[in-house]
Symmetry: C2
Subunit: 222 residues, 2 copies
């Protein structure tokens, strides 16, 4: 028998508190998708959630702890979505394409990922950081395991692939975070430059190069 948990005005039980925390996170995620990282304000989030600003700080120590939690959740979502697209013996290209696509369908994963280490982690308590790193390791392991059979690689090589894909993804994604310059008239040379840094081919091409190299190394090293 599970009883319906309703939060009248105050969350007293641990269950109610967890529920309210989730309410905040749900509001935060939708608000984040609206306005992005820089314009995200705690006062506005409080309004959107329907609680007072001070109350937010009963559930999260800092603004960045909210972002870190959203990141953790989106990482978990992504890893299971990506794993679901993998099958045995894929081409490097298919693998890279799927990785790119799945990371880009989630509205919050990449924007948070690229700000993780140089902004978010700088205003988070150490124990919370450790917790997040554990989530990260767990997800990497899960993805590496399936990668191993998808690309026919050993455990070590599969881990290397996953790790490297992360690095490449961050670099290639940078370019998607540029301000929208649509309906701006740009000189042809600048327009060409921007086009030539389109993230998808940049990522996929180099992902394939790296995967193939790691494959070749695995063969020549036994």
């Amino acid at each position: 028998m599970s009883s319906v948990v309703v939060i009248n005005q105050r969350a007293r039980s641990a269950e109610q508190k967890a529920l309210r925390r989730q309410e905040v996170l749900r509001a935060a995620e939708s608000y984040f998708q609206e306005v992005g990282f820089e314009a995200f304000s705690m006062a506005q989030l409080a309004t959107k959630t329907g609680i007072a600003k001070g109350t937010l700080y009963l559930y999260f120590k800092t603004r960045e702890e909210i972002f870190l939690t959203l990141y953790d959740q989106s990482l978990i979502r992504w890893s299971s979505a990506f794993i679901a697209t993998l099958s045995e013996d894929m081409t490097s290209n298919a693998y890279a394409q799927s990785l790119y696509k799945t990371t880009h369908t989630d509205g919050v994963f990449l924007p948070l990922l690229i700000r993780l280490e140089h902004v978010i982690e700088h205003n988070v308590a150490i124990p919370r950081l450790i917790e997040s790193k554990r989530v990260f390791m767990q997800q990497v392991d899960a993805v590496a395991k399936v990668t191993s059979s998808a690309l026919a690689l050993g455990t070590a090589q599969a881990n290397e692939v996953v790790k490297t894909m992360g690095v490449l993804l961050i670099g290639a994604t940078q370019t998607d975070q540029r301000p929208a310059l649509d309906n701006e008239v740009l000189p042809a040379d600048v327009q060409h430059l921007i086009t030539s840094f389109s993230s998808e081919p940049l990522f996929v091409k180099n992902a394939v190069r790296i995967i193939e190299s790691i494959r070749a190394e695995a063969l020549s090293n036994g």
Copy 2:
């Protein structure tokens, strides 16, 4: 005959104004190295420069225009420093090592590079942005040209190498921007994770993989 330009209290001529602008930039660069991106405040910069806050805005439209200008300058510095280390017919490994090293000796280049597209460019006037992109293209061309002879590649391949190195560098560098966790006691597993994401091997290894792939493609495509 060049006359010495001294700025008493007011910069009236274009020459004096350019000089004062450089003074601001010099102070900004040293201040940036002290406190980093997030803690960099215009009021403090004004104090360090020895002028009033409002005066800063006579020389730069926004805080981000200062950062963009520092970035442009550091890019130019880096490209000439890197070019100076290149010689004919280098190994991919030597090339990658040198690229890594030269980017990491400048104190402001990488921190600005990784914030370029998702923060800095969002608060800069379009004409200024175009100017900066032109500087970028110019430097990429210069580096690509020397890369072409250093790695014995055609122009197209050399450009591809340079472009891709940038992407990889941003991704691999992310990890250096983590908060300093020295004298924090971390669990062994987390400590191991952090160690395994050390930026130098991450960059160099994959840079070599990519360069070698591009080389191989060049051979097989004629």
